[in-house]
């Protein structure tokens, strides 16, 4: 037998992944002071004695951040702890003003969640266990490239509220990791607790990854991969690191437990600069903050207030809108807003399938082209439903409807107003239609002669000319009748 290639090596190994996801909560103020969390303010504009860690300043917990964190924990199926404890994670770094980060350690906010991330070919669910959800504060930002030879520190981000969502090592392969992240992101969007943007840094992913031989049940030694800034980066980084680990193991080597940094440009993982031995964060309960006690009533209230989650919505759409294809349902439940928009149009127009087609086609294209969100789309769902009604009732043609829609996107006006103003109402009045037919025949004497002479296949071309002249408002059926009557005249 010849030496195995890398591909052959990976085929005999299984990738085991657990993810740690940091999510920035959508609050207007920081977690322990009342500074703004606005993104993009001048450096250190959003700071105060508390988040600058001036002598004597003390933290006060932001209750809204706690509500959002509980909301997330509940949506992920976790048990919210009636008592959790903030702890100090001690280490020195210039962008960590207190010299410790306030986080949660041995008594986190919530435990034991479960996330269904898909279905196996045999129909069984792929579930990922969630170990814990805890709250913590973000650190500031060290800026190394702004001033020559020195590092500057911007503490606007210091104290921005985060939750960390830790999964068990239940993910097998980069595709499952990706599915987990997408499912998680979708849920967090539905419950409106975060912007969940990796690009903006409001969602950050660290991956624990190990390799083991197929059939093995004991976990291998893991490494932690950091510094990915997109979902595709996570997938690529996991594949590259898995490949590296497989080669080491295949060659009889051992995996060193260490932190690896993903370099997206080079497509490589590299060991992080080792930080003088292992870190000892000397966690201990923060004496400045009493234990966080969450009464059952508060948990119940937040549970009641949870909106419909993506899985439940897909289930319901399947039952309530049998005309929709599975793909339609996927698209219409991708985000929280599109489903609500769809349902509004579907209900008002009474035609879910047509509503779905419009939304998945023209609406999504316009949103993309005009960089709008469905929540603030210039075309209100009631107006789109009215447009659908106009088409159904033969008041405007489908062609004209597309033009009306384009103007609705631009102006936000109602479709009936636009159709009237732009003379796009379907013209069924024979006198107008006969005039257009006469004009078209006069303008195209050759085709007209041949058509009247019996060349019927030219009818389509001539109808087209008439429709164009009418800017789509002519009723094509009547135009066909009027033209047909000219043959042999």
């Amino acid at each position: 037998m010849s030496a195995p290639t890398a591909a052959a090596a990976t085929a005999t190994f299984e990738m085991v992944v657990g993810l740690e996801v940091h999510v920035q909560l959508k609050t207007t103020t920081k977690i322990f002071c009342r500074c703004s969390t606005d993104f993009g303010a001048p450096p250190n504009a959003n700071t105060c004695p508390v988040c600058l860690a001036l002598p004597g300043a003390l933290p006060v917990l932001n209750a809204h951040a706690v509500d959002l964190a509980i909301r997330a924990a509940l949506a992920l199926g976790c048990r919210v702890q009636s008592t959790s404890v903030f702890a100090r994670k001690n280490y020195f770094y210039p962008d960590l003003p207190k010299g410790y980060q306030i986080s949660q350690f041995d008594r986190p906010l919530a435990l034991d969640g479960l996330l269904r991330i898909g279905t196996r070919p045999d129909g069984s669910p792929i579930n990922t266990r969630i170990t814990r959800v805890h709250m913590e504060e973000d650190a500031g930002k060290s800026v190394h490239d702004r001033f020559a030879g020195v590092t500057a520190v911007d503490l606007n981000r210091a104290g921005v509220p985060l939750i960390e969502i830790v999964s068990e090592p239940d993910l097998r392969g980069a595709r499952e990791a990706d599915a987990y992240l997408r499912t998680l992101k979708q849920i967090l969007e539905f419950i409106d607790v975060s912007d969940v943007s990796m690009e903006k840094g409001s969602l950050r992913v660290d991956a624990n990854i190990s390799a083991r031989r197929m059939g093995e049940t004991v976990l291998g030694t893991k490494t932690e991969v950091k510094n990915m800034n997109s979902f595709s980066g996570v997938t690529r980084a996991l594949e590259v690191e898995f490949d590296r680990q497989c080669r080491v193991l295949e060659a009889g080597g051992r995996i060193e437990q260490q932190t690896m940094l993903w370099d997206a440009d080079a497509g490589e993982v590299r060991p992080a600069r080792s930080k003088e031995g292992s870190h000892d964060y000397r966690y201990f309960p923060d004496p400045d903050l009493p234990p966080l006690i969450i009464p059952l009533e508060r948990i119940d209230r937040l549970k009641r207030e949870l909106p419909e989650l993506p899985a439940a919505r897909r289930e319901r759409f399947r039952a309530e809108y049998p005309a929709l294809a599975p793909y339609d349902i996927e698209v219409l439940t991708a985000g929280p807003g599109i489903g609500a928009y769809f349902e509004h149009v579907a209900r008002a127009s009474g035609d879910p399938k047509t509503a779905a087609n419009w939304i998945m086609g023209d609406v999504l294209a316009s949103l993309k082209a005009t960089d709008q969100s469905i929540e603030h789309f210039s075309v209100r769902p009631a107006d789109l439903a009215e447009l659908l009604d106009l088409v159904r009732d033969g008041v405007v043609s489908l062609t004209a409807a597309k033009q009306v829609f384009a103007l609705m996107v631009k102006t936000g006006d109602r479709p009936s107003q636009i159709a009237e103003r732009e003379q796009l109402l379907k013209v069924t009045d024979d006198s107008a239609l006969v005039a257009w037919v006469d004009e078209v025949l006069a303008e195209h004497p050759d085709e007209a002669r041949r058509f009247i002479g019996g060349e019927r296949r030219l009818q389509g071309v001539l109808v087209g000319h008439v429709m164009k002249k009418s800017k789509g408002s002519a009723d094509p059926k009547r135009v066909n009748q009027l033209l047909g009557a000219r043959i042999g005249t």
């Binding site: 006060v60 210039p94 000892d280």
Partner: protein, 489 residues
């Protein structure tokens, strides 16, 4: 203003001075100037007793004039025109806040501590900041980076510590009310050494916002008074819930001065045997027993009680306090404020700044605290210490549950010792043996002068149940009245 006027002002209690100011008989400005003039006369500054670190006459005048204007508007305040001195670890905008440390030398806080704000709101005039053991770590005020303070009653001796400067300021007649802070006896011990009244309120009674943290679960702002009444008035002004301190309590604040009219009939006073060990200086024991006899003669019942875990208090204290301190003092890193010394890279800067900025006792405690929180030692030290701390707290709970209203003990095992007498740190720690228990249990306690030994003041200590300062004041008022002024400085 003639020296006679100044003497007249100096002879007034805080309440009397407040009344004279309110009546327009004494101007706030002359009261403030009398205080600062007296400080110069007795040599309170660095080349003398070294009990004061900073003054700002212009600012004191501005504050005084502001109070005068408020008085004219009929809004004099409960401390109108009363000059006060604050320990150097309480943040003030008008004077530096250096915590007796090189690392904060010249640092001026951009905000006022809540207690400073409340004093100002009540019309008090902050005239100076007082010397202290660096970061409140010490029992003699010899650990100040700005040189040791001396006891105004016996300049070869220490004033006690760590709030030695504030205690001495009251003893020397500069002010009737001064603020200190306690972590383990740092108000009561110097009060005893200087022959003044010192109150350590219940943990949570007074806001810690703006008190530079030493050990957050133990720290509490305390009040010095020339008399029980001065201290009662001072505490009432600063006590009460503060939304900026999550550990401050919503308990209502009674009028402590009303306790002056209280009767001791039916009050049960415990004499804990652990505070009267066989090797206690018999002269101190006699003074305490004489006070207990006085209390009995006033209607109180004296009962022998036991607090069986008392002997573990010093050891527990010297694990818990340094552990918290090691984290609290991490913010002094040279990055944002205070001392910064360049070194080789970031780590070199940290090492140079902190090695040079902190004195030996602070360094010792940071090292000790870092050690006891380290992985592998946490359970053996910090966790165990917290468990024993709970036992010490239960001792107090049990004794108060048994029908005892107050405890009475010596404040310190000895009167003020000579400068340089305690070169062994552990010897020094033992001077807090009777006081640090109240901090560990969070209960209120106060020291008042009960006589003299070798011409040096001896302090007696009352300890009460949580938030029962009123009971403590009632007994102190009564005892003070019976003992007469002779016991005072």
């Amino acid at each position: 203003m003639t020296p006679n006027d100044r003497a007249a002002i100096g002879a007034l209690s805080a309440a009397e001075l407040r009344d004279r100011v309110a009546a327009g008989d004494v101007s706030p400005r002359s009261a403030a100037e009398a205080s600062l003039d007296r400080a110069s006369e007795i040599g309170a500054w660095r080349d003398g007793l070294n009990i004061l670190l900073y003054e700002n006459r212009d600012d004191a005048r501005r504050q005084a004039e502001d109070v005068a204007r408020r008085r004219e508007r009929g809004d004099a305040g409960s401390l109108a025109g009363v000059p006060v001195i604050l320990k150097d670890n309480i943040a003030t905008t008008s004077l530096p806040t250096s915590c007796g440390s090189r690392i904060l030398e010249g640092y001026v806080s951009p905000y006022d501590a809540t207690v400073a704000q409340r004093l100002r709101a009540a019309g008090a005039v902050i005239v100076a900041k007082s010397n202290m053991d660096e970061f409140a770590m010490g029992s003699s005020t010899e650990n100040s980076a700005f040189g040791p303070a001396k006891n105004p009653l016996a300049p070869a001796r220490v004033p006690g510590g760590s709030s030695g400067g504030s205690a001495a300021s009251v003893a020397a007649g500069l002010v009737r009310i001064a603020l200190g802070s306690e972590t383990g006896g740092s108000v009561r011990q110097p009060a005893a050494f200087c022959g003044v009244v010192g109150v350590k309120p219940t943990y949570g009674r007074v806001s810690r916002y703006g008190l530079v943290a030493f050990a957050s679960s133990l720290d509490q702002v305390g009040v010095f008074g020339r008399s029980v009444d001065d201290a009662a008035l001072g505490l009432h002004t600063i006590a009460g819930l503060d939304p900026l301190d999550s550990t401050s309590a919503a308990e209502p604040v009674p009028m402590y001065r009303d306790a002056a009219r209280g009767s001791l009939t039916g009050v049960v006073i415990g004499r804990p045997k652990e505070y009267f060990p066989d090797d206690l200086d018999p002269r101190i024991r006699d003074k305490c027993d004489a006070s207990l006899a006085v209390l009995e003669s006033l209607g109180a019942e004296v009962r022998e009680v036991t607090l069986p875990h008392t002997h573990l208090a010093i050891e527990v204290y010297y694990i818990v306090a340094p552990a918290e301190a090691s984290s609290n003092l991490a913010r002094f890193d040279g990055v944002r404020y205070g001392l910064r010394l360049e070194g080789d890279g970031l780590r070199g800067m940290y090492e140079a700044t902190r090695s040079s900025g902190f004195g030996p006792e602070v360094t010792r405690r940071i090292l000790l605290g870092t050690y006891v929180l380290s992985a592998g030692y946490y359970d053996a030290y910090y966790r165990k210490a917290q468990q024993v701390r709970a036992l010490i707290a239960r001792d107090f709970a049990d004794v108060f549950k048994s029908g005892v209203h107050l405890l009475f003990t010596p404040t310190t095992p000895t009167p003020a010792f000579e400068l340089g007498a305690k070169s062994d740190p552990y010897e020094m720690y033992l001077s807090d043996i009777f006081t640090c228990t109240a901090n560990l249990a969070g209960v209120p306690a106060m020291s008042l002068p009960i006589g003299r030994v070798d011409g040096l003041p001896v302090g007696g200590q009352f300890i009460a149940n949580h938030f029962d300062e009123r009971q403590m004041f009632a007994a102190a008022y009564a005892l003070e009245r019976q003992l007469g002024a002779g016991a005072h400085a």
